[in-house]
């Protein structure tokens, strides 16, 4: 009996280890190739590790492309949007949850409905609107339209719905202003929701490819994901530089994830979001 359990445990562990190695292999290969020269990558048979370690790929990316400009574009868009979305989501969620006014329910349902509209189906009208506003190929085209996030409002509202009444009653007795209640009571009480929303908005914006692809055109305005596809198409034959560029883009987010993985995982489970 005991033996059976041990065997099934062994099978479990072997499966997990094999799959883990398969899942990590592309990362390993990307890093390994980024430190090889392109001629070594094309050599057969291939070596798992670079025989002659070189930084040429990295140097090429950093000197022959506006990499820092791309990084700044991405940081600029992502940070502004994340901060604004956290603010709008929580304050609108607060109003929808704790105040009674006409059309409150209608508004909430419209917000829920907009959550179902797929981004892919919206790319044409969004492009036309952005062109009409004269924002085509400008960073503002990626920043302003995302200021209100239906999922964020929904998440915050659900969270604020669950806060106990007593929390607000004493503030009301003190005649605290609405904004004061928002900053002093609501915000601190929904920290977990804000945290997971922050992680997801940041990742979604940082990794987005479709919107920049449609809205941006010139190389200097690109965000990192779009820039990478542009760079790898331009340097088709230079595998070393392409892998170096991919590593530069992937490693920071992955490192942050490894450091804060518990918060990430809590966030995903809590918001149950994709």
């Amino acid at each position: 009996m005991k033996k059976d359990i041990k065997i099934s445990k062994m099978i479990r562990i072997v499966c997990l280890v094999v799959f883990s190695l398969l899942f990590l292999a592309p990362y390993f290969w990307m890093l390994s190739n980024s430190f090889k020269s392109t001629s070594e990558i094309l050599l057969e048979p291939q070596h798992l590790l670079p025989t002659k370690f070189t930084l040429a790929g990295y140097i090429k990316v950093l000197t022959k492309s506006p990499f820092f400009r791309w990084l700044l574009n991405s940081l600029f868009i992502t940070i502004i949007d994340t901060v604004v979305i956290l603010f709008t989501s929580s304050i609108i969620g607060f109003v929808l949850s704790k105040y009674r006014f006409k059309l409150r329910k209608t508004m909430f349902y419209i917000i829920l409905l907009t959550m179902m509209v797929p981004a892919t189906a919206m790319m044409i009208p969004n492009f036309l609107l952005i062109s009409t506003l004269g924002w085509y190929d400008k960073l503002i085209a990626l920043i302003v339209p995302t200021f209100f996030n239906a999922f964020g409002i929904f998440l915050c509202k659900q969270y604020i719905d669950d806060l106990p009444k007593e929390l607000f009653e004493s503030a009301m007795l003190d005649n605290a202003s609405d904004l004061k209640i928002y900053f002093k009571i609501v915000l601190p009480s929904i920290k977990p929701a804000i945290g997971s929303l922050a992680i997801f908005t940041f990742l979604a914006l940082w990794n987005d490819y479709l919107t920049p692809l449609i809205m941006l055109n010139s190389a200097k305005n690109m965000t990192l994901p779009l820039a990478l596809s542009f760079f790898s198409a331009q340097h088709m034959s230079d595998l070393s530089a392409t892998m170096a560029a991919a590593s530069l883009i992937m490693i920071p987010a992955s490192a942050i994830f490894i450091l804060f993985q518990n918060q990430f995982i809590k966030g995903i489970t809590m918001s149950g979001m994709k």
Partner: protein, 291 residues
């Protein structure tokens, strides 16, 4: 709480914004699907349902539709099987550290931009001569496969990539569901010498209930919209369009051929598919909130 000024100063900007950036675009999208619309032209004729009639006879659209369904159902089926199995294996470890180590490994690909990992796969995992995948196959004594060049294999390659990049989310969600199952149920079955197989199908799966439905529908919805890997992995699609899916077809028609009226009609089809899935989920979650 009833401060009118505060309510209005939050609600009015919200409504205005939603109107400009959400309601109007949806309206535009619907409207131009009835026009022969090209943004570079001054005169765009109203064509009624012509775009929709054209859909039924458009071979490329039908191929894209078929490919989308093959991709979505193939990937989602494999994704659910794989993530359930891995999440189950992980959840059976007692040590928290071991569990989070494995979850981290499988979630790592979800963190990186899809473009970045697609570039890595297209340039150094899938290539026939220098790719890691064929090196592995050759080491096992198997022959090389032309992963991205052979139209019959192309969709399999995209599915393999998508599993790698996306399975981590569901592992996390299933793990959370499984952690909610009380451990004493498993301990009782350990005493009865129940096989792992039975434990999984008789205990874990039935008790996952709502988590399973939620994960299934959310994965379907997200896979119908996947775009980046189709745009980066597929370098040359050739005449067979073997990797053409709806999202890619919309992009191609709208932005490469500038035929936006027709592309909007295709968008509407995708929109309807996703709406149906969303409503199914709403219904299910209302019925089955608890287990």
């Amino acid at each position: 709480m009833k401060n009118k000024k505060f309510i209005y100063s939050v609600i009015i900007p919200t409504v205005v914004f939603m109107f400009i950036f959400i309601v109007i675009p949806i309206g535009i999208g619907l409207a131009i699907s009835f026009f022969n619309y090209n943004p570079l032209r001054d005169n765009n004729a109203f064509v009624g349902f012509e775009n929709f009639v054209k859909l039924l006879k458009d071979k490329e659209f039908l191929v894209a539709m078929k490919n989308t369904f093959v991709f979505v159902f193939g990937t989602v089926f494999l994704n659910i099987c794989l993530s359930l199995a891995l999440a189950y294996f992980i959840s059976r470890f007692k040590s928290n550290k071991v569990r989070s180590l494995f979850r981290m490994i499988f979630f790592l690909p979800c963190i990186a931009p899809v473009v970045a990992t697609s570039v890595v796969f297209s340039r150094s995992i899938f290539p026939t001569d220098t790719g890691l995948l064929n090196m592995g196959l050759n080491a096992l004594g198997l022959g090389s496969v032309n992963w991205l060049g052979d139209p019959n294999v192309l969709m399999i390659s995209v599915i393999v990539y998508t599993l790698w990049v996306d399975v981590g989310y569901n592992i996390i969600l299933f793990s959370a569901g499984m952690d909610g199952i009380p451990n004493h149920i498993y301990e009782a079955s350990d005493l009865d010498n129940t096989s792992e197989f039975r434990k999984f199908f008789k205990i874990t799966l039935p008790l996952l209930g709502r988590t399973f439905q939620f994960v299934l529908v959310q994965t379907l919805i997200s896979h119908f919209q996947m775009f980046a890997q189709f745009s980066v992995l597929i370098l040359k699609d050739g005449s067979k369009n073997s990797g053409l899916v709806l999202s890619r077809y919309i992009y191609k028609t709208a932005f490469e051929h500038k035929d936006m009226g027709y592309a909007s009609a295709v968008s509407l089809v995708l929109f309807i598919i996703i709406m149906i899935l969303s409503f199914i989920e709403q219904k299910k979650t209302q019925v089955d909130w608890e287990y």
